[in-house]
Amino acid sequence: MAIRFILLVSRQGKVRLAKWFTADYTTKEKQKAVKDVTQAVLARRPKMCNILEFKDYKLVYRRYASLFFIAATDQDDNELITLEIIHRYVELLDKWFLNVSELDIIFNFQQAYTILDELMISGEMQESSKRSVVNSLKRMEETEKTEIAGNLL
């Protein structure tokens, strides 16, 4: 069971982050998929369930404030745990940015990507400890700081 791609889309349909774990799509198909998925999810009403059967996969999504977090998974995946994975990602963003907002993700998309990379590879979850993810992120930022400082000397 693996996640095929993850999208962060604003309520207005703007893509804030897109991560592809499958190579089945060309750039064009990706754009088309993003458009279709966004449309399908934005059309859903709040009371409806967080699962939408879509083409040959399932969309599991949840809205946090103004952002939709959408994960496309295989048909036989555990939808409920996918929701937890999404939630885990949001918690990590929140922990990293301290009260994350859409703007944090827009202006620091690189970090948002890194957090995702530390959480999952190839659509599979890599680390179930929040602290561990945040720590590796901290170490990376420190390394970069040292590099910048080193260059100054």
């Binding site: 893509v15 190579a23 555990n78 827009i106 690189q110 890194t114 590879i121 890599q126 390394t143 910048i148």
Partner: protein, 949 residues
């Protein structure tokens, strides 16, 4: 200096984002981005190392918004080659975003990845593993597998877990690599680190899916380890770091449960070892939060799949029952999905476990959420048994009325199927089918229509009368609402034609009202006068719903009514209506109208014989026998496991048509064998053996032909099971000629014309194989009108009392009649495509003195391996031309069969006609392999100038 630059970096990315965000319109945004992109491109060209980082950053942002950024790919590679971590990090991010597996550039990344995986800095190793794990191609997998193998045994958990997930990608790309990882992956199960354990279990799960031997090995060695891990995780407070609302590491628990499922499936030994822990997880997990339910859900799936004890299964079903009554929509969705899945394999419809939740499931049919509705729909069909069929059908019918049009067809055919399986009586089934047609007549497919007609024909007289009256009055009373349902109209018109005499003179139907709907019953049982019937038919013809198909049916019905109705003025009106259609634009209707008018001029005795009612299909009678037993009535459905294929969009109706029609659609090349001859006989006699002259060869022949007779009752309209059968054209061949002799006693035997395209088209019965079938109108017309009169003569001379049938079937044998004339200007057909067993030919015909050309495209399946499905035939013409296309007769072409699609090209400037054809279809795989999707564009400009000049 660097400091200035680095602050510059931040501000400049921020500036750009701000600028883009402040754009008021899309046009503004595009302008800003176009300017930035241009700037970045120039900067890339000048190989400016200082600004590369910023530029790639900005480019990635632009890319995220959906703008092109491919020109940044090379820059990402350059960043990765830099020794700095910062550069590498951005570079790899860019590679993951901008490159995919199919790009050439990827090979250039391989070297960088190799270096970085051997780097002393684990963070850099981590970057490389992450990148490889997300984008590896098969080549990269082979080149870098050695590195990953080393890293999977690294002393650092940060590296180990990444390498384990990376390995999943590699073995998916190159399954041969699997054995290199097997022992290492099993070793990961002993790891203390949760991340490593999680990824290790995931890796093993994927390995088991790829190679059954891995599962076999794990069954022997690793079940206890997994069980122990699960046990630890369910102990409260086991590892606070991994706690999610009171549950320890649900992610790992779910993964372990999933792996246990694979190991327990089909192995009692392994299943026994996990029974206890599954029971423990199922009872102790807190189901008040989503996390807990995620674990319970996974546990249920595992319990249902493995060889678990009965008590455990009961526990699982109870959990699903709890889920079903949960207020959370997600949980209900999951419950519906799982119940459907388990119903297919384990539960049967009578299972009280499922029936207990009937009310809830039916409630879900009305849910506002489409996800829930669809799941509930599939499950509802599993609920049906002979006790509850009435209640459930009522619910499903009300669902059908409001269903989205794209699923109506499949729901309709499923309701009809189940109504037959579990019907309490035939009357009820008839009512249900009528209601289905009324609710979804516009969407039903040919099989449902056929089913409906079969049902009427196999009914006893009083029920037939009831059905015909009901159909007629539905149209009469409900007007446009009913007329919009084409399927309903088609069936009604057919019934009016076939049972017209009963309709007007059948007396009281005496069967009472619709059991399910008692309101206004008497209105629906009124016997109309002949005049009223004709008026209704005429009003349909004039109304907006008279499609070509409907018109075709009405013309035939009118012809039949000339033999059923008695009042002279009414018969005059019928003749007038038929006469009107002798000049109709649609060639088939025209041809039929001409023929039918000719029939009306015959003496009454002959006419009566010609217009005899249709015999009942044997296959329909066979189906009848199976009805009400809970068994699928349709032969193809029997072979399918349980109700499994009732899911989703699988259209059993079509499958059925294939299996039943295939033998009839014998390709012309093999029609000379005796079997095909039998088919022909069958066709000639319209399934009425009593009319056949007895001959020793015939008896045997007929017997073996019967099972393969076409199921397509609509063919009976013409008295001829045609579909697309080319058989009769080779009539006097082989063993058949002797049989033909008595039949066409007065006809001199002449060698038949080979079954060329034109003759095959001739055979294309007007009322082909379904409502939308309209094979080959253009080439049909010129010959058939010429051939019609002699054919009548022939029909009269033969003693068959199914003359109407033989009339039409004898059309194709004009060559055996001395009077027949083959017109010199036979429309020529142009081959335009032949691949994968699909041959497409175009038959153009000059219309309006060259101002237009009507083209008939014919799709033939010349292959032997099965039906070609999903044929999409799109045509584009230059601007000087105007194109009007008709729907295809079918999007499925059976082996040896054909489908047609007519189009008209208006060519006011009389220029040469060029077509660009976009073609899509799914060709049958070779020797039963998966079907192959084909999409192609073909240019065609080969028409002769005489068509327009």
């Amino acid at each position: 200096m660097e400091k200035i630059l680095s602050t510059l970096v931040i501000t400049r990315l921020r500036d750009m984002i701000k600028q883009i965000r402040s754009a008021k319109t899309m046009a503004d945004e595009r302008a800003v981005i176009a300017k930035e992109s241009a700037f970045i491109r120039t900067s890339f060209k000048s190989e400016n190392v200082e600004t590369r980082y910023i530029n790639v950053q900005k480019l990635l942002y632009i890319y995220m918004l959906g703008y092109p950024a491919h020109f940044g790919q090379m820059e990402c590679l350059k960043l990765v080659a830099s020794p700095k971590f910062m550069d590498k990090r951005l570079g790899y991010l860019g590679i993951m975003l901008l490159l995919d597996e199919n790009q050439e550039l990827l090979t250039l990344v391989t070297n960088s990845l190799k270096n970085d995986m051997n780097n002393g800095n684990i963070q850099i190793v981590g970057l490389a593993l992450c990148t490889l794990g997300n984008i590896s191609s098969p080549e990269m997998a082979r080149d870098l597998s050695g590195e990953v193998e080393k890293l999977i045994s690294s002393g650092n958990s940060f590296v180990r877990k990444k390498a384990a997930l990376c390995a999943i990608r590699l073995i998916h790309k190159v399954p041969d690599l699997l054995e290199n990882y097997q022992s290492k992956a099993i070793g990961l199960l002993q790891d203390k680190h949760h991340g490593v354990l999680l990824t290790g279990v995931t890796l093993l799960t994927e390995m088991c899916k790829i190679d059954a031997n891995v599962a076999e090995e794990l069954r022997k060695t690793s079940v206890p380890v997994l069980v122990r891990h699960l046990k630890n995780l369910t102990t409260p407070g086991f590892s606070p770091e991994h706690d999610v609302s009171g549950i320890t590491d649900p992610f790992l628990q779910v993964k372990i449960l999933r792996l246990l499922r694979l190991l327990g499936t089909g192995s009692t030994f392994a299943s026994d070892a996990m029974n206890d822990i599954l029971a423990q997880v199922a009872t102790n997990t807190d189901g008040t939060k989503n996390v807990g339910n995620a674990i319970l859900y996974e546990t249920v799936l595992t319990i249902m799949d493995i060889e678990s004890e009965n008590s455990l299964r009961v526990l699982a079903i109870n959990i699903l029952g709890r889920f079903l009554s949960n207020k959370d929509n997600n949980i209900r969705y999951v419950a519906l999905t799982t119940l459907t899945k388990t119903s297919q394999t384990t539960l049967n419809a009578d299972s009280s476990a499922l029936q207990r939740h009937r009310a809830t499931i039916l409630d879900c049919l009305k849910d506002a959420d489409v996800s829930i509705r669809h799941r509930a729909l599939d499950l509802s069909f599993f609920l049906i048994n002979s006790q509850n069929i009435r209640i459930l059908t009522r619910e499903l019918l009300s669902f059908l009325e409001v269903a989205e049009s794209d699923i109506k067809s499949s729901v309709a055919s499923r309701i009809v199927d189940f109504a037959g399986r579990f019907r309490p009586n035939k009357r009820w089934e008839l009512d249900t089918t009528i209601r289905v047609m009324r609710a979804a007549g516009a969407n039903v497919d040919a099989s449902t229509i056929n089913h409906c007609v079969k049902l009427v024909t196999t009914s006893p007289k009083d029920l037939q009368l009831y059905a015909v009256r009901k159909f007629f009055n539905l149209i009469r009373l409900e007007g446009d609402q009913a007329l919009a349902q084409e399927g309903l109209v088609v069936v009604t018109v057919w019934c009016i034609g076939e049972f017209g005499d009963a309709l007007v003179r059948g007396g009281d139907s005496g069967t009472g009202g619709d059991e399910e709907d008692s309101v206004g019953q008497t209105d629906y049982m009124i016997a109309p006068t002949e005049r009223q019937v004709i008026d209704i038919l005429e009003s349909i013809l004039r109304g907006p719903f008279a499609s070509i198909v409907v018109k075709e049916y009405i013309v035939t019905a009118l012809a039949k009514l000339t033999g059923r109705f008695l009042e002279a003025p009414v018969l005059d009106s019928i003749r007038a209506m038929l006469a009107k259609y002798q000049t109709h634009m649609d060639v088939e209707i025209q041809a039929r109208a001409v023929e039918f008018t000719a029939i009306t001029k015959l003496d009454s005795e002959t006419r009566a014989a010609l217009l005899e009612s249709m015999p009942v299909l044997e296959s329909a009678l066979k189906e009848e026998e199976r009805k009400g037993t809970g068994q699928p009535a349709l032969m193809s459905a029997i072979t399918s496991p349980s109700r499994a294929n009732q899911n989703g969009k699988v259209n059993t109706g079509n499958i059925l048509d294939f299996s039943d029609d295939v033998p009839v659609n014998v390709p012309s090349t093999v029609t000379s064998n005796p079997a095909a001859g039998n088919d022909l006989l069958d066709l000639v006699f319209g399934g009425a053996p009593t009319t056949a002259p007895t001959s020793s060869g015939f008896g045997a022949g007929f017997g073996s032909a019967a099972p393969v007779k076409s199921d397509n009752i609509m063919d009976l309209l013409g008295g001829l099971s045609m579909g697309s059968a080319p058989a009769p054209s080779i009539a006097p061949m082989g063993g058949l000629s002797s049989l033909q002799a008595p039949l066409f006693a007065s006809q001199p035997q002449q060698p038949s014309k080979p079954a060329g395209n034109a003759t095959v088209d001739l055979l294309g019965d007007l009322f082909g194989s379904g409502p939308s079938a309209s094979p080959a109108p253009t080439s049909f017309f010129p010959t058939s009108t010429a051939a019609a009169p002699p054919a009548f003569g022939m029909g009269i001379n033969t003693a068959s009392n199914d003359l109407f049938g033989s009339l039409l079937s004898s059309n194709p044998t004009p060559t055996s009649s001395p009077m027949s004339i083959i017109p010199p200007s036979q429309p020529k057909s142009y081959p335009c495509y032949e691949k994968n067993g699909l041959r497409i030919s175009l038959t153009p015909e000059r219309v309006d003195g060259g101002l237009a050309v009507s083209v008939n495209a014919k799709f033939e399946n010349t292959g032997m391996s099965g039906p070609i499905t999903g044929v999409v035939f799109q045509v584009a013409v230059p601007k000087t031309l105007k194109l009007t296309m008709q729907p295809p007769s079918s999007t499925t072409v059976l082996a040896g069969g054909f489908a047609t699609q007519a189009m008209r090209i208006d060519n006011p400037s009389k220029t040469s006609i060029k077509l660009r054809i976009k073609l899509g279809y799914s060709a049958p795989g070779f020797m039963g392999s998966a079907p192959q999707l084909v999409e192609e564009i073909v240019d065609f400009g080969g028409f002769e100038a005489s068509l327009w000049a």
